[in-house]
Symmetry: C2
Subunit: 268 residues, 2 copies
Amino acid sequence: MTYCIGMLSEPGLVMLADTRTHAGVDNISTFRKLHVWETPGERVLGLTTAGNLAISQSVRGLLREGLRFAPEDLAVMGPDAPTEPDTAFTLETVPTVFQAALLVGRAIRNVYHTDGPSLGAQDGFQVSMILGGQIRGRPLRLFQLYAAGNFVEATRDTPYFQIGELKYGKPILDRLMHPGIRLEEAVKLGLLSVDSTLKSNLSVGMPLDLLVYRRDDFRVTLRRRIHEDDAYYHRMHDAWSRHLAEAYAGLPDPDWWDAPPGPGDRPA
Amino acid sequence: MTYCIGMLSEPGLVMLADTRTHAGVDNISTFRKLHVWETPGERVLGLTTAGNLAISQSVRGLLREGLRFAPEDLAVMGPDAPTEPDTAFTLETVPTVFQAALLVGRAIRNVYHTDGPSLGAQDGFQVSMILGGQIRGRPLRLFQLYAAGNFVEATRDTPYFQIGELKYGKPILDRLMHPGIRLEEAVKLGLLSVDSTLKSNLSVGMPLDLLVYRRDDFRVTLRRRIHEDDAYYHRMHDAWSRHLAEAYAGLPDPDWWDAPPGPGDRPA
């Protein structure tokens, strides 16, 4: 399985992904799931992938080779549509982040066209992605893409996306994520969310890949592979565990504890 | 959906269940999912159910009417097997908690025999249950039952079970549950686990049903329906949210923050 987060805030973007893939618990490997395209001074795009690894790799293969938009893609671009509709684009050349999302969606659809029928009869066509970044002259944006190749965009109300094994790490994000969060705080929060997931699910594993991008910088702010022995991660993990245990110990006991038992319902 | 927890500790047993059922988000009802059989001075048994409500109700119907063990059930009972193999038992008459688990499993299998084929063609036969309690002269035990009617028992290494929408509330249990936990603490911990789930998943809802049983008491210690306006629940929820926010704010920022960006990998 996989766990990836994309967080959009006023100061910028944080993307975090684990690296574990498995086909059953006895066939576990490490694969990069966070990919970054940077043209310093001009663009930074990050893409994380979850689901079937063969599908993700085919999608990235198409994006690397370059692909053409379909007429229905061009139709939604309005005045931003390329003047040469037959041009093939990559994530290094596509002119806007919205078009980058369309391009990734198109790649997903092309792979579905090739692999979908045989996968459909077996596991289904399972893939989801988070794409975020900024291209000069355009706003910073964050999208989540589905297996159908369509996508939604993060907003102030929902400033983060998760893909993969997302439930374990969702409560902490729901509690603490907000659209004004500092980038350093967003990194901490993302790591806490991953930490909860690692603790409860074997199929998500270290090392983690991190991308931090400060809005309007057009170059990567921080990129890091966080290994199992990362000193900061350990300090954070230990401090958090201790804080939680203290907070929990400090909660009052229920005040209805000494009340008599409620009325028994009849034996079912 | 559903969320239920059963926690076994040295001092006793805590069981907690939500009450929301739904067929789609626009057809939501409240049903009791925690059922208690008490014969004061002799036995306390609690049963929580998740999955298809029609299956759960049929299982409880069979248990209420009484049912016979199958020969394969009798075969695993050893010297505890009933001397009259044709006797029908209910959870009020079955002599041991292990036999109670076998009886619930037998009821699940009987319902599967009746409803399984038509359900199999549709949603599948989805049901899981947690059964815990004590009968005089016997130890306190906690079992989780599967749709196949088989079951596992909680141990000191794994002193709790969850059924239903379990992932949101698992990290906090994994962090703080231990086999020596006081009953008051276990109630707090169970409520925190439910609180995380409620925050992230609409399909789990208040009110909650709680059963507390102190080992070797053979009567219910505490039984309570916790409603949305429960003052203690609100105080606990607010205190926990505040503690978490403070703990999070107090974590140090990453010390690799000011390091230069790591080596970019080649565009994918």
